[in-house]
């Protein structure tokens, strides 16, 4: 079953690519979440027009293919004299993309906290920040966490697109191995298995949490 | 005539009906009262074959409901049933809700089905709600629509499964009035209900079901005013 032309060296190469994938995912999720929480809270608390305007701008990043955004960012950077390597550009684009989605998740989660509950907290003498930390945050987290987990996993899968600008993440590594060994099915299978083994358990945990919290 | 002969029904290990026997003559109104879990709703579901039985027989005009060869779809045209949660079809207007079965099951033309539906809806007092959607109606109105929907099939028998239990108190009256009207028109009705006063005023007979068995059955004077069994007395006291 295990073909001799695909060597342990190749597998190691792919695993190094997987490490790059995880690195990209980490920065994208971190940046995207921080920005997303910021924008999300803004959208949830700003009045009509400014909130809508912010929403429309972020919507642009969800309505243009990610690959196009990556190509544009990569083409734009040298134009303004910014010299960044592919990995950094990739992290930035993925983070902004993730932030656009995260904003909506955060906004919806915060708005899902019943105003009555927040009013009750304020009536008990809690300050605005107390309310946010002790009331809004835990309740919003329950609503938003499953969606956020989905977003994080989505960013991991979307990180495969950065192969276009030369970053050697898992899928590019797989492609390189295929070119050498001419075993596309096997190599893609291994790559798929690696993605699957990372994504599936986390997705299942997310579903379990969602079920558990919905029942409470 | 509906003949219920020594019917047994279990849900897994739990025996819900433990040998129930009862007959319902044409034109009769029989109320079935009892506590929750007594099996009365299940009994109703068995009459039109929504639930199977493990023992005994149910005959509707001589046809065995649970026999292998019985065409349940045909049988159900004769038996109308109204549920506690009216189960309106939300994607159809009130009129379309009532027209659906006459058109598809009885094969009536659009015009015929519409005429029947308008007649039945007028009969239950919903003449000016025809073109709205059920979501716009109150619970009581939706329940009356459900009654009209069942009546549109011109059934010989009407079964009512606690049809007022899910309604706000002020909406209960309109549904009971509709049922009263039907009974005075000679419809054969089996009514599972918590409304003891309705049972006493409208029924020909009342059956008290307790733990899967009929403990008492007789005229309302006998069962409600002069109950004999201890369980019946206890039940009536608890709902007064």
């Amino acid at each position: 079953m295990f073909n001799a032309t695909v060597s342990a060296h190749d597998i190691l190469f792919m695993l190094r690519g997987a490490a790059v994938t995880l690195g990209l995912t980490f920065w994208a999720v971190l940046g995207g979440t921080l920005l997303g929480v910021g924008f999300g809270l803004l959208r949830a608390s700003l009045p009509g027009w400014p909130s809508l305007a912010l929403g429309l701008i972020l919507d642009i990043f969800r309505s243009v293919p990610l690959l196009i955004q990556i190509i544009l960012a990569n083409a734009f950077a040298p134009l303004v004299g910014i010299d960044l390597d592919g990995f950094t550009i990739a992290c930035i684009v993925l983070a902004v993309y993730g932030a656009a989605y995260c904003t909506e998740i955060v906004r919806a989660s915060v708005l899902a906290v019943p105003l009555a509950t927040r009013r009750a907290a304020r009536s008990l003498g809690m300050t605005w920040s107390d309310d946010l930390v002790a009331i809004v945050f835990p309740m919003a987290l329950r609503v938003g966490l499953p969606g956020w987990i989905g977003l994080a996993l989505g960013l991991m899968k979307d990180s495969s697109l950065v192969l276009w600008i030369g970053v050697i993440e898992l899928l590019r590594a797989a492609q390189i191995v295929i070119t050498r060994t001419q075993e596309p099915l096997l190599v893609l299978g291994v790559a798929g298995a690696i993605y699957f083994l990372i994504s599936f358990p986390i997705a299942r945990i997310g579903e379990w949490l969602e079920r558990r919290w919905r029942e409470q | 005539m509906i003949e219920i002969q020594d019917v047994r029904k279990s849900f897994g290990p739990l025996e819900v009906l433990k040998g129930v026997s009862m007959n319902v003559e044409r034109g009769e109104v029989v109320s079935v009262i009892g506590g929750s879990g007594s099996g009365k709703s299940t009994l109703l579901m068995c009459i039109n074959g929504l639930e199977g039985i493990e023992g005994g027989r149910i005959l509707v005009d001589g046809t065995d409901v649970h026999a292998r060869g019985t065409n349940l779809n045909k049988l159900r045209r004769k038996i109308g049933i109204v549920f506690q949660q009216w189960n309106a079809f939300p994607h159809l207007t009130v009129l379309e809700n009532v027209m659906l079965a006459p058109r598809r099951v009885l094969g009536k033309s659009r015009a015929e089905a519409e005429a029947i539906a308008i007649e039945k809806l007028t009969h239950v007092g919903l003449k000016d709600k025809l073109f709205g959607y059920p979501s716009r109606l109150s619970g009581g109105q939706q329940q009356r629509m459900a009654i009209a929907r069942a009546l549109a099939m011109s059934p010989d028998y009407m079964l009512f499964d606690e049809v007022t239990s899910a309604l706000d108190p002020q909406l209960v009256g309109e549904v009971l009035d509709t049922m009263r009207m039907l009974s005075s028109e000679g419809m054969t009705m089996v009514v599972v209900t918590h409304e003891i006063r309705f049972a006493r005023d409208v029924s020909n007979r009342v059956a008290f079901v307790h733990r899967g068995r009929i403990h008492e059955i007789g005229s309302p004077e006998q069962v409600i005013n002069n109950p004999r069994r201890a369980e019946t007395i206890e039940f009536l006291k608890s709902v007064r």
Binding site: D158, L163, L185, Y195, F196, A203 | F83, F89, P90, A101
Partner: protein, 220 residues
């Protein structure tokens, strides 16, 4: 910045780009249509009595949802080749997107079916309707309304996914045409900016169309 933007050649190639838009929408529509059929089959397979069907459907759905769409497109383009099935870039892209969408749609259909209370079917059967009549007149119309927006959203995702055709050499869709022009002129930023605007407009037009159609179809 010592780069001068040359927008004119881009606007002169607008007809070509618009032609690419048509191909993009075509691929999105085709792949979504296939995905719907597959999704329904998978949803039924998932709840089917047959163990093999249930496991096969589960495997398909979980693989589709937990691996990158690009990997799935690569499977169609490079992987199938070693099994003797040679798909061109158009077919591989469409197949890859269809596979990916079908996995998500299957879960959407499954959730939709569970959202319709069993009491609806019970009420219909009590009126004497057959199983088929119940599905056709009571269950499916309600299911359609529940899954309508998820399906239209999936189709918009499909439009965005078509850009991946670049990685398998597709040169007739919007991204492909843009890349062809880019390779000729090296005006990457200008051409892809306009392409981005066009993608945005396509996405918004589809969202609008979906709302319009919904307004006409669903009156309640």
């Amino acid at each position: 910045m010592n780069y001068s933007f040359h927008w004119r050649p881009v606007f002169e190639s607008l007809p070509l780009l618009l032609g690419g838009c048509l191909v993009t929408v075509e691929i999105a529509a085709l792949s979504t249509a296939i995905a719907i059929v597959l999704g329904v089959a998978l949803a039924f397979g998932r709840i089917s009595g047959s163990k093999t069907a249930a496991w096969f459907a589960l495997g398909w759905i979980e693989f589709g949802r937990n691996t990158p769409g690009l990997l799935q497109i690569y499977f169609a383009y490079f992987g199938l080749g070693s099994l003797g099935v040679h798909l061109n870039s158009y077919a591989a892209l469409t197949a890859g997107i269809a596979f990916n969408s079908s996995a998500y749609l299957a879960e959407i259909f499954r959730g939709g079916m569970r959202a319709i209370p069993a009491t609806q079917a019970r009420a219909a059967r009590s009126l004497g309707m057959t199983s088929w009549q119940t599905s056709r007149h009571v269950v499916l119309p309600q299911l359609f309304r529940i899954v309508y927006y998820p399906i239209t959203n999936q189709m918009i995702f499909a439009v965005l996914m078509t850009a991946l055709g670049l990685t398998v050499g597709l040169d007739t869709d919007l991204a492909g045409v843009t890349q062809q022009l880019n390779v000729l002129t090296y005006r990457t930023f200008e051409y892809f900016s306009v392409a981005a605007v066009l993608y945005y407009l396509i996405a918004k037009a589809m969202t609008g169309a979906a709302r319009l159609i919904a307004w006409r179809l669903f009156r309640y």
